[in-house]
Symmetry: C2
Subunit: 155 residues, 2 copies
């Protein structure tokens, strides 16, 4: 089976997408992360859920999570409001090389998909259209590690 | 809201659990990873899905995923059969310090949970019983980053 057959629809955001909308998509669909594409549909990077939390939670609390106990529900709401005036670009970690992105061509075999996930310790790969049409190199969906295992394991 | 209220039931494995059973649990319930506990129910580590793939896929293919194209479905089945004679212990990466595990007490606040996930870049935290009963320090469930965002984001 090829990557394009295993790929499932996945919400795609761009660096300009509203940060709150992106976080809501993760929460609402219970996703481990989102695929970030440039305006032309080419994969830019992956935004893992923990990165949204790294943006929300001040560094001194990340360093000493017990300090969070001193904050109440109002403080929590206030931290989350930081998402309102922000975009996905603000949430992203430092730029990555495209070579090191978890991305496969549509005709990659399931073992090739497994090798990319294993190499990059990624819970998710983006699948790109590798046809000759106008959608070439655009992301057509994603494969999660659990979806891949479901396919690979003997019945 | 406290960690124990956000925690959801989560399959728990031990280092002696059959590796195939662990991989099937991940696949069947579409989980990003599993919590590994010692026989006494105390958290030992997290087994991320990509780690199962690192065990299955030979290192030379991880280094050059394109080589996977030379392998057929039979080879794929053969690689997966490595799980049959193995246990979760065989799948685990090098031991981690307990301090650096994504684990929170049942009465941790949601912001504290967020701080732990952010600090450790983890898509998942294990929640421990912090009562005075016989289950103290045992894992009672887990919180995924998407579940936490669902709770934290304003409605």
């Amino acid at each position: 089976m090829r990557a394009r057959d295993l790929a499932e629809p996945f919400p795609i955001v761009t660096p300009d997408t509203d940060a709150m909308a992106a976080a809501r998509a993760m929460a609402g669909q219970r996703l481990p992360g989102l695929i970030v594409c440039d305006d032309d549909g080419r994969p830019h990077t992956i935004l893992p859920g923990s990165q949204v939390l790294r943006f929300l939670i001040p560094a001194y609390i990340q360093d000493d999570p017990g300090l969070a106990r001193a904050l109440d529900a109002d403080a929590s709401d206030q931290l989350c409001r930081r998402l309102v005036a922000s975009t996905v670009r603000d949430l992203l970690p430092r730029p990555q090389d495209l070579d090191e992105l978890p991305v496969v061509a549509g005709d990659a075999t399931s073992l090739e998909v497994a090798a990319v996930m294993a190499r990059l310790h990624s819970p998710l790969v983006a699948v790109m259209d590798d046809g000759d049409g106008p959608d070439r190199d655009r992301v057509i969906g994603a494969i999660t590690v659990s979806r891949l295992l479901e396919h690979l394991l003997p019945a």
